[in-house]
């Protein structure tokens, strides 16, 4: 794990879990004293004997195991004394007995919540391996502890939620390449804001400087008419300029938002392609798709409109306040003072709506659960005559949704008119303060002109929109930073498998594969391969057999370099696979899986997937060799028939043969077959087997098969059990081994086949 990975995990523990992110120094000192050496692995044990929360520490040394109690008392016992480990899992607590001699008190009794389970199991695993006579190197203690404790939160969230402001700045940095357009967009928005202030002022000017003077005869009507018409033209110009600026702003910002969203989408997707298989096994596909699509779309919305709206609303509010106060500070204060309260009220309403939405969402989930349960299981519903019951269940939940939705609608339909009434109330207050001054009756200020009053009233109507935008600013920014975070999470995840600076390209790959004392674990501590060594010559076909969980799939995953080994090395033609150019190497590698995956596209495109330039003749040749040509020709559009999602439905055997044709065209030097014939019927299996026989010829092949009969012709069989290579040899050699695992498995399968 990288330094940043450790920091990330420790950050999660500190931020969310309220327990030490690493072994406290005083506990380490006490523990090392009790262990008589350094701490190799540790875990926190968070329940006491009364099932109250506590902080005990379980420490593993090279020779001893220590327990450090909350009071600082430490006691230890020898690792060699551990005879067995027994577990009593409960709903939320596990009781672990570390047993020494029979009939004697346990060496340790540990009670812990599920939160500590992975860390405790790391220690338990090492001890268990020792009991079974295996030595495990546990790795870095701090890394393993942090990884184990932080894992549930990390898997749910991946990155520490971090500082929202930092995420926002990082997002805004994506605007940098488009700063020119952005500047124009802001300029256009500033023009909109400025010219919006003109019409109310113009109205006031017309009343005070034209209408009233003309009416009281102090200005000639002709001169007044000229000025008035000029004002009308100016008003028209203002509107034209405003809408032209609006057009520029909307178009520029929409385009800029789209360009940034495109950049992010491209970057995320390209980064996803670099990620190793471990990443995809941890993340749900749906969640990754959402990040590339919905999240980038939400960011477009924020960048295109949110950024400008929020900043200009602030400018607009300040501008309006300044104008109102300069027009008449007394009336201005009446209008401006309540503005913060209005903004806060909208914020408060947003928070309340969030809770209402949450409740509605819960009810909605409950309703859709019924749909998700019953529609796929409609046969069972009908078979048990539960249609009426299910209809009732759905109706009840649907009614719940309606009730919550109505509560939600009641909240917002009450809020907005009430807020408007409050804003209009300030307008009434403005009237109340202004009327005595308009009539020259004093009222706490000098006489107010009618024009100033009209301008004032028109400006007050412009307060509503910026107040609304600023009130919702927190929510807008939270939504955007959430999406940005999810996108950055992918971008910040470093691929676990990376090429060296100057990778080797084997030309050509001959296919000599060797494992040299290979160990591997998916989580750093528990090893699924332990000291596996073998050498395979070019052109050999190796059958990987053995019980489930023995390590067969891990062997092929490592050959394909989906993961890097944690110990030992794997060589291809004498070169460590970690020194190879992985893209070039994988082009020499073919895989046929139990569940063949066909992309949405034509049969032709699927066969050509690795070689889009392959001629039709070569495609047909590959399809013939894969026993696929005949059924493809019978499809309505032949090789141009659409398959995959939303395309023509192919049977499992047909999909498998298309995938074999793809592998044959790919012409790999090393071929991996993972249960390639297990999901089909006997007749189809025969056809696929024929195709396979043609496919494997002349290549180094690693084949995993549940049905051992399909591997009797393999050059050699490797029997994997508990992560070790326990037997190897030809079918005949292994059958000759009395009490051999292969012989037992093979005999069992034959007997079962006979019984059927």
């Amino acid at each position: 794990m990288s330094e940043s990975g450790l920091k990330n995990d420790q950050g999660i523990i500190e931020r969310y879990l309220g327990q030490p992110a690493r072994l406290p120094d005083d506990v380490r000192a006490l523990g090392e004293g009790a262990l008589g050496g350094s701490v190799r692995l540790y875990a926190m044990v968070d329940l006491d004997v009364e099932l109250g929360l506590t902080q005990r520490w379980l420490l593993l040394g090279d020779q001893r195991v220590a327990l450090v109690e909350p009071g600082g008392e430490a006691h230890a016992f020898g690792r060699a004394e551990v005879r067995a480990i027994r577990e009593e899992p409960g709903l939320s607590a596990t009781l672990l007995h570390v047993l020494g001699r029979a009939e004697e008190a346990p060496l340790a009794e540990l009670r812990y919540t599920h939160r500590q389970r992975r860390a405790v199991e790391n220690v338990r695993f090492v001890l268990q391996q020792q009991i079974e006579g295996r030595d495990v190197d546990p790795g870095d203690a701090d890394v393993e502890y942090a990884r184990a404790v932080a894992a549930p939160v990390r898997e749910a969230q991946a990155l520490v939620a971090g500082n929202r402001r930092a995420v926002l700045w990082r997002l805004l940095a994506y605007l940098a390449p488009y700063r020119k357009r952005l500047a124009w967009g802001f300029a256009a928005a500033a023009v909109i804001t400025l010219v919006s202030l003109v019409p109310p002022w113009l109205a006031g000017y017309l009343i005070d400087e034209v209408v009233r003077p003309v009416q009281d005869g102090s200005v000639p009507a002709e001169k007044g008419a000229t000025v008035a018409w000029l004002a009308v033209v100016a008003m028209a110009l203002v509107y034209v300029v405003r809408q032209a600026a609006a057009l520029v702003r909307l178009r520029l910002m929409a385009v800029v938002g789209e360009l940034v969203a495109r950049d992010l989408r491209g970057e995320v997707y390209a980064h996803l392609q670099k990620m190793s298989m471990g990443f995809f096994s941890r993340k749900k596909t749906g969640s990754l798709i959402t990040r590339v699509t919905s999240d980038t779309d939400r960011l477009w919305e924020f960048l295109a409109f949110g950024v400008v709206d929020v900043s200009l609303s602030l400018v607009m509010l300040m501008g309006l306040s300044a104008v109102l106060l300069s027009l008449d500070w007394r009336l201005g204060l009446v209008m401006v003072l309540p503005v913060p309260a209005f903004c806060w009220t909208i914020f408060w309403h947003g928070e309340r709506m969030e809770r209402l939405f949450l409740r509605t969402w819960r009810k909605w989930s409950s309703m859709t659960d019924v749909l998700g349960d019953t529609l796929p299981g409609i046969k069972v519903v009908k078979a048990f005559s539960q249609e009426a019951h299910e209809t009732g269940r759905f109706s009840a939940r649907s009614a719940d949704v309606t009730e919550e939705a109505n509560r939600l609608h009641a909240a917002w339909t009450t809020f907005w008119p009430t807020l408007m009434l409050a804003i209009q109330g300030t307008t009434v207050l403005v009237w109340a303060f202004a009327v005595p001054r308009l009539l020259g009756l004093g009222g706490g200020g000098p006489t107010l002109s009618a024009g100033t009053f009209v301008s004032f009233l028109l400006y007050t109507t412009m307060f509503i929109y910026p107040i609304e935008v600023i009130g919702q600013m927190t929510r807008t920014m939270n939504r955007a930073t959430s999406s940005a975070h999810r996108v950055f999470e992918v971008l910040d995840t470093e691929p676990e498998v990376v090429d060296v600076a100057e990778p080797v390209r084997l030309r050509p790959v001959e296919g000599r594969v060797a494992f040299e004392d290979v160990t591997f674990g998916y989580d750093g501590v528990r090893q699924v391969l332990r000291g596996v060594s073998f050498a395979v010559e070019p052109g050999e076909m190796i059958g990987l057999v053995g019980p489930s969980g023995g390590g067969k799939t891990t062997v092929v995953n490592l050959i394909a370099r989906f993961y890097d080994v944690t110990g030992g090395r794997i060589t291809v033609d004498g070169v460590d696979v970690r020194d190879l150019d992985s893209a070039h190497y994988r082009r020499q590698l073919g895989m046929v899986l139990q569940e063949p995956y066909l992309f949405h596209g034509t049969v032709l495109e699927n066969i050509r997937y690795g070689h889009p330039e392959a001629s039709p003749a070569r495609v047909i040749e590959a399809a013939r060799a894969a026993n696929a040509h005949d059924f493809i020709v019978k499809l309505p559009h032949g090789y141009d028939t659409l398959v995959g999602e939303r395309g023509q439905t192919l049977s499992g055997g047909e999909r498998q043969r298309v995938s074999i044709a793809r592998a044959i065209l790919h012409d790999p030097r090393i071929l991996i077959l993972d249960e390639a014939t297990s999901a089909v019927d006997t007749e189809t299996e025969r056809e696929i087997q024929e195709a396979m026989d043609r496919l494997v010829a002349g290549r180094t092949v690693f084949a995993i098969a549940h049905r051992l009969s399909t591997l009797v012709n393999a050059s050699r069989l490797f029997v994997m059990k508990d992560g070790r290579l326990v037997e190897s040899g030809t079918h005949a050699e292994l059958l000759a081994k009395e009490d051999g695992i292969y012989r037992t498995l093979y005999t069992l399968q034959r007997e079962m086949a006979k019984a059927i």
């Binding site: 329940l47 009781l95 029979a102």
Partner: protein
Amino acid sequence: MVRIGEAALRLERRRDGQLWAARNGEERPVRVHRLFPWSEDERHVSLRDAGNREFALVGPEEELDPASARALEEAMVAAGFVLEVTAVLDIEEEIEIRVWRVETRQGTRAFQTHLDDWPRETPGGGLLIRDVAGDLYFVPEPGALDASSRAWLWAFVD
């Protein structure tokens, strides 16, 4: 597997710390697995051996000697342990998780749930919340909590 009605079942917590079950001359260390932790009588339990095979199925009608009943009771407390929430201090939504801060009978605890992992109502009217690590938090009577806790929980209870 031994069924109810067969020879008397004896249970004891031995010196090695394990719960041992004996019946029909056969004995082995077992663990207790509650069959209906929330809905039916809690004394429906399966006694599982080290290989996770059922050694005995115990129902409410099973007559145990006092020492065995006490040993079973103690084991059931441990097996049924969940953190019992006495007050909700804060619930905050973050990216992809909901962060809870609660007081429990066992002490103050912060935990996280998936956003779409809703608390589950138990037949007795309680509320059961499962965090991302799989730990369970039980609110026996949401209506009996203080006003602030009830306000925090409002969106999650009917």
